[in-house]
Every structure is written in structure tokens, then in C-alpha cells.
Symmetry: C2
DNA sequence: CCCCCAAGAAAGGAATCACTTTCTAACGAG
DNA sequence: CTCGTTAGAAAGTGATTCCTTTCTTGGGGG
């Protein structure tokens, strides 16, 4: 008779479970990382933000470093960079570089800082391993859908373009992100594509007329 | 009569002073930063490495963050990047990029990690201010002696070359440093200069014949 | 030669924080 | 409906470490 129905008095404390709870814990970890930084982030602050207790965190991750590492990886896989398909190499590049800039602005700063600073030594990984894990090894230039499509359309000849040229736009956007901590301006992206990348491309397509 | 002369028994404890002591303290701070990382560095470990006590540190810097910031700045100004003069733009560039890579390899990783991670919030500076202070705003492309000399020699026409092109070699070396944490390989530097920078330069010197 | 500032040693205060432990009760599985 | 798992609350432990304080004595400046 003293039983209380869900919609009755008091704040209804629903209890979260499984994957959905875990996702909220990792999101809380990422948010703390962004707002406080690794140095000021505590297990208590993460638990507090997720409205749970530290014990819940320790049931899932052995220590703080494991949690932080998982939070970074979770953020990346939960925020994939859209791969555009505009029909032209130039359009695709502009769109993808913009998407990378916007989607990865905070991510790169946070991930780089955390990976570089040796703060994750508690995971037993080498700095290089941490970096690879955190950065996700997104540098697969030849495999980039972008370029493969342009190749299939006949816009470029992948076999004749040096890898350094293909990497250049992405390297520069990554560089700008790390230096400025905000997405590159549209004007900067246009400069990268129109004043650097495309001219270099033309130098390697001398025999072609397809680039118009 | 119980007075002991300097060369007599016991470890001769000379007492350091002024600028020379300060330089050793900052060097100890930098070394700890490199070996232990900000997260594991303590005032005690710095004092121990410098063979002095924490009080000596606190007489100079109000707190740990101030000391770390000063140590980073001290390292940079104590290790300037050599500006080469080989007589040609290509030679100068290869030499300077190599020098930047070698001189700044550890510096960039450490400085970036420390600046980005919000660990220096104790200094009252914004993250952007910390970054500027730590990085030293070495991005003064137009002012680069390198390019000015090439301009004077008539090798290039600075007014016709976009800033993005002039920045490119330095941006890419910086990018590589941040990604790999070790100096770029000589082959990579040659690719940057010969496959990226110089071809782009030629595109803007169409009217000239001086580039051979 | 003397004096005073600061180097260096030593010890401790106070706060923070990773991680643990214990307990209650919510919720899913059967 | 029952049972077992685990979310969530609460309190505590031990270690670390920043920073202070006190004291002795070396050595540079006058």
C-alpha cells in the first residue's frame, strides 16, 4: 500500500543500464576533458557530471587513464567525419576539409594534448601506441574514398600523383587545427585547395586535359 | 682553528647564485618535463635534480605552473634555430627545415602538450595566450630572413608569391613534428622542398628565368 | 673584514584525489 | 513473482604533493 507509482511524488530516479549507461559515462568523461582538461579532471567530477558514483566507473575501467582513453575513442567513433559526394574532386575536397575542421576541432587539440603529454603512461602503452589509438590513424591517403572516386571519374591519375601531394590538404588542415584550436576559416580552406593542392595536381597531370 | 679550507675533507658544497643558479633551475625543470612529463613532475623532483630545495624554487616562482612556463620559455630562447646561409634558396630551406626539425623535435611535443592541455590554467592566462607564449609565435613568414635573402638575390619575387606558399614548408615540418614527435627524415624534407614548395614557387615565377 | 641576503636542509600542514568498501534497492531475466 | 546482478549513495583510507616555515651557513658586496 505504500508502493509508489512511477509518476507519483519525488524526482523519478530511473536507473540506467548497459550500453546506454556506458555511453553516458564516456560522454561525461569527454566533456570533462574538454572543459577541465586532463589535469583538472577527477573521477569524482566525471561521476558527478554523469549523476552517478565513482564505483560505477571503477566497475568498468580499472583506472582513470583507461577511462580517459576510452572516452577519447568513444568520442571519435561517435562523431565520424562525413564523406561528401559532390561530383567533383574540388567540391569533395572543400566539403571534406570543412567537415574535418568542424568535426575535429576540439578533438585534435584534446587528443593531441592527452596523447603527447605522457599522462596516459598508466595504460602500459608506449607514447606512440597511445597516439595511434587516440588519433585513430586517419591518415590513409591512398585509401581515401575522395581520391578513389576522382580516379574512377578520370579526374586524376592516382598512380602519377605523389603521396605527399594527396596528403597535403589534410596535413595542413590538421596543422591549422593544432595551431589555432578552431576550425580553419573557409577562405583558408579555399587557399589550400585552389592555391596549393590543385596547382600541384596539375603539374602531375600535364598529359591530361580532363582537369578543366 | 677548526676552520676547514675549501680543498679539505668532505664534499665541497659550493653555493650557486643569481642568473647562473636560475638557469640551472630552469634546465632542471625542462629536463623533468621531458623525462617525466607535466603530470608526473613535482617540485620536489625538480629541486632534487637541481640539487637544491623547494624553498629556492618558491623564492623565484609563485607556483608550479609559473616555473614550468618559465622553463619552456627558457629552453626555447636558449636553443635558437640556426639560420643558414648557403647561397641558394633551396639550400637554405633544406638546411633550415632540418635545423627546425632537430632543434624543435622535443620542444614542440612538450610545449604543445603542456599548452593545449589546460594544465597551465594556474597562470591566469587563457589557453590561447599560453599557446602564444609557449610557441613563441615563430610564424613570421614574410619576415623570414631566408626569403628576404632569396628575394634580394633575385631568386624569387616575394610580392608575387602567396603567403600560403611561403608558409607551407614550415607548416608541414611543424605538422610532422607534432604527429611523429621526432625530426622528419631527410627524404621527407626533400619531398617537401622539391615536390611541393619549389613546384608551387615556379608557378608564380612564370615570367622569370632565374630559377634554374 | 664584516654583514646581510639568500642558498640549502629539513620537517610539516593541509588539501586533493585515486581507489576501496559497504549497503540499499532498482531493474532485467527467467 | 522471485532472484541475482549492479546502479547509485556515502564514507573512508592512504598516498601524494603543493607550498610554508624555520633554521643554519656560505659567500658576495661594501
Amino acid at each position: 500500500m505504500t508502493r509508489v507509482t512511477a509518476e507519483a511524488a519525488g524526482p523519478v530516479r530511473r536507473r540506467r543500464h548497459g550500453k546506454q549507461l556506458e555511453a553516458e559515462l564516456l560522454a561525461a568523461g569527454w566533456d570533462e576533458l574538454v572543459e577541465a582538461g586532463y589535469g583538472r579532471l577527477t573521477m569524482e567530477s566525471i561521476a558527478g557530471r554523469a549523476r552517478t558514483s565513482e564505483a560505477v566507473l571503477y566497475r568498468r575501467w580499472a583506472n582513470k587513464d583507461e577511462l580517459v582513453l576510452a572516452a577519447i575513442e568513444h568520442y571519435r567513433s561517435a562523431h565520424p567525419v562525413a564523406v561528401p559526394d559532390t561530383g567533383t574532386l574540388r567540391g569533395d575536397l572543400l566539403a571534406q576539409l570543412t567537415a574535418v575542421g568542424e568535426t575535429r576541432a576540439t578533438f585534435f587539440a584534446i587528443a593531441a594534448a592527452t596523447a603527447f603529454s605522457g599522462l596516459l603512461a598508466g595504460t602500459g602503452l608506449t607514447p606512440a601506441q597511445v597516439r595511434a589509438k587516440v588519433m585513430g590513424d586517419q591518415a590513409l591517403p591512398h585509401g581515401r574514398t575522395l581520391y578513389r572516386r576522382a580516379h574512377q571519374r578520370g579526374e586524376i591519375d592516382l598512380d602519377r600523383v605523389p603521396a605527399a601531394v594527396l596528403d597535403l590538404p589534410f596535413d595542413l588542415v590538421r596543422h591549422d587545427l593544432l595551431m589555432e584550436l578552431v576550425p580553419p576559416k573557409p577562405a583558408r580552406i579555399r587557399v589550400i585547395v585552389d592555391e596549393l593542392f590543385l596547382p600541384l595536381l596539375r603539374n602531375h597531370q600535364a598529359g591530361h586535359a580532363s582537369l578543366e
